[in-house]
């Protein structure tokens, strides 16, 4: 086996040194009764050539955002990935290292995380960001738990316009913690209904969670929600699943958010059928000791040189065990590096330009849809790069028709929103050329559906 260096001679010599005669004797502590007395029932091993052939065969059976014109969003986005990212993360000093437990030989990882934390703070307008969480959904769940810890309250309001898979994840995390999850209705414009929010907020409420933009692509009035939330001493959590929007939109921090959770997939991570993505998590300075996840801080070494270390670790599971702020250990380190490289390349101008392209292309598509006879725009609220389309013909038929034209036309909302069973969610990014958008519209007009 090419990954295992031992020759028969090595094995014999090593067994001799250990003082046993056979490999079998190394397992003397494993009771006979629990031994596996047959070979594992798995396919025989393949060579590298065969492996590549097998995996290419599997790969050919999938529709990708390259083989189809894709308008799928809903928490995972098809964006530009600069070639630099994969070249740099393929340096194996990055990807074959682990958690920087020994800072003297982990300064590369540590400095990159420190830069990541800084970029997330700048982007979100918050004071402190951690080294990453698993994804936007689990980060949102951790944000809810943090708000519960801070307020010692048990009621949590989730906007119905928050990504339904984020809501489901929050519900799983809270399942056995005795919390009350309450849904806040969506208004006619696709924003969270402020009257319903005002009515449901009370002095037992720990947190209000809003998407920014929300699942319908609509830009919430975060400032107003923050004001209402703070009047009751609760915390406002904004969940950002499309962070490209923050290249253009006011930062959640500026609008009064207390915790910002989100997903960084849009920043240079391949779609990869849903993961690995990256959860980001940012808070206010006063709450830093309640936050989950690893933190890197700046310090100096014995010679006075600048260096970086893991810090404020007493919040974490390896020290505080069952009283820790989270159970998270491994996070999404390499994904955080990818995001750091992406944001370094795009920088101040690039992120704005990319955001403007998303906004403009989606607005163009939205106008085209609005002009179609059988389709209309469901929500009038301001949107970024996604919008909800209402369809006269059955949505399932429309989407299958588009597939046959080589288009992944959008996400049906039927399963998550029975009241929007006649609607689908369309996403347009800088990857969609005008011709693609025109082709989508033409297919619908021509009755591909």
């Amino acid at each position: 086996m090419r990954y295992i260096p031992h020759t028969a001679g090595d094995v014999a010599q090593m067994l001799g040194r250990v003082g046993v005669d056979t490999l079998e004797q190394l397992f003397v502590e494993v009771p006979e009764a629990v031994r596996l007395k047959r070979p594992l029932d798995l396919p025989e091993p393949v060579s590298e050539i065969e492996l590549l052939r097998e995996f290419k065969g599997l790969a050919e059976k999938n529709a990708t955002v390259e083989t189809y014109k894709s308008f799928l969003g809903g928490g995972a986005y098809h964006h530009f990935i600069p070639a630099v990212i994969d070249q740099l993360i393929s340096r194996s000093e990055f990807y074959t290292a682990y958690t920087p437990y020994q800072p003297e030989i982990s300064q590369g990882t540590l400095q990159a995380i420190f830069e990541f934390q800084t970029l997330i703070c700048q982007l979100t307008g918050m004071d402190v960001a951690n080294a990453s969480m698993y994804d936007g959904a689990s980060a949102s769940a951790e944000a809810v738990l943090m708000a519960v810890r801070l307020t010692r309250r048990k009621r949590v309001l989730l906007s119905r316009a928050l990504n339904p898979r984020y809501r489901a994840t929050v519900a799983t995390y809270c399942k056995y913690l005795g919390l009350e999850l309450v849904e806040v209705a969506v208004g006619d414009d696709g924003r969270t209904d402020s009257a319903d929010l005002a009515e449901k907020l009370d002095d037992k409420t720990a947190a209000v969670v809003l998407g920014y933009p929300n699942y319908f692509g609509v830009i919430e009035d975060v400032a107003a929600a923050a004001e209402l939330t703070h009047q009751h001493g609760a915390r406002l959590v904004t969940a950002v699943s499309e962070p490209v929007a923050l290249g253009l939109l006011k930062s959640p921090g500026e609008l009064g958010a207390d915790i910002v959770a989100g997903d960084g997939q849009s920043f240079g991570l391949p779609l990869s059928f849903g993961g690995p993505y990256l959860g980001f998590f940012a808070v206010l300075q006063k709450d830093v000791r309640s936050m989950p996840g690893r933190l890197v801080g700046e310090t100096t070494d014995l010679d006075g040189q600048r260096g970086f270390v893991l810090t404020l670790a007493t919040r974490e599971q390896h020290i505080r065990r069952e009283k820790a702020t989270s159970n998270i250990c491994s996070n999404q380190g390499l994904c955080a590096l990818m995001v750091t490289i992406f944001l370094s390349l795009l920088g101040k101008q690039g992120l704005r330009e990319m955001a403007e392209q998303n906004l403009s292309k989606a607005a163009y598509a939205r106008q085209q849809f609005a002009s179609l006879k059988n389709f209309s725009i469901a929500f009038a609220g301001p949107s970024f790069n996604e919008f909800v389309v209402r369809s006269k013909p059955p949505v399932a038929e429309v989407l299958v028709g588009l597939e046959q034209a080589g288009i992944l036309g959008g996400l049906s909302l039927a399963d998550d929103y029975p009241e929007l069973a006649d609607c689908f969610l369309v996403c347009v990014t800088e990857q969609n050329q005008r011709e693609e958008i025109d082709a989508l519209v033409a297919a619908l007009q021509g009755g591909a559906a």
Binding site: R289, T311, A313, T314, I319, R320
Partner: protein, 128 residues
């Protein structure tokens, strides 16, 4: 290691100095040494009602965290706000500048049952 005679001690390594019905509380020289460089101290708000034996605060070093327990019941009268910015005072002056809170005792004799310096020394020797 230094355990002043005029103080009372708990098994959890807090010390108490009684002045009438006021109890001044901190952690012992032994505790600060075992913990290492203190990097953070969390103290209760003034006015908090404390119950003897229940945690009232936390002291942390880089790689350890320890609850601090109320030696007596009562109400928090004052906290040492200097510790919030300079928790290392607990290391450099555990019995004087490093005091943590002052408790207005519900029962002025509550501290009488705590260990004296000699008993505390014996307790540490026993804990090994």
């Amino acid at each position: 290691m230094d355990f002043p005679e005029e103080l009372k001690y708990t098994e959890e390594h807090e010390w108490v100095m009684v002045e009438a019905d006021l109890a001044i509380v901190g952690i012992s020289d032994f505790a600060q040494e075992a913990l290492g460089d203190v990097v953070f101290a969390e103290l209760p708000e003034v006015g908090t009602v404390l119950e003897a034996g229940k945690a009232f605060g936390v002291v942390e070093s880089v790689k350890a965290v320890s609850d601090v327990y109320a030696p007596v019941s009562g109400t928090v009268e004052e906290i040492n706000t200097d510790l919030l910015d300079a928790p290392e005072i607990i290391n450099t002056s555990p019995y004087e500048d490093g005091w943590m809170i002052k408790i207005r005792m519900a029962d002025a004799k509550a501290a009488d049952n705590l260990m004296d310096a000699e008993a505390y020394q014996a307790h540490i020797d026993e804990e090994g």
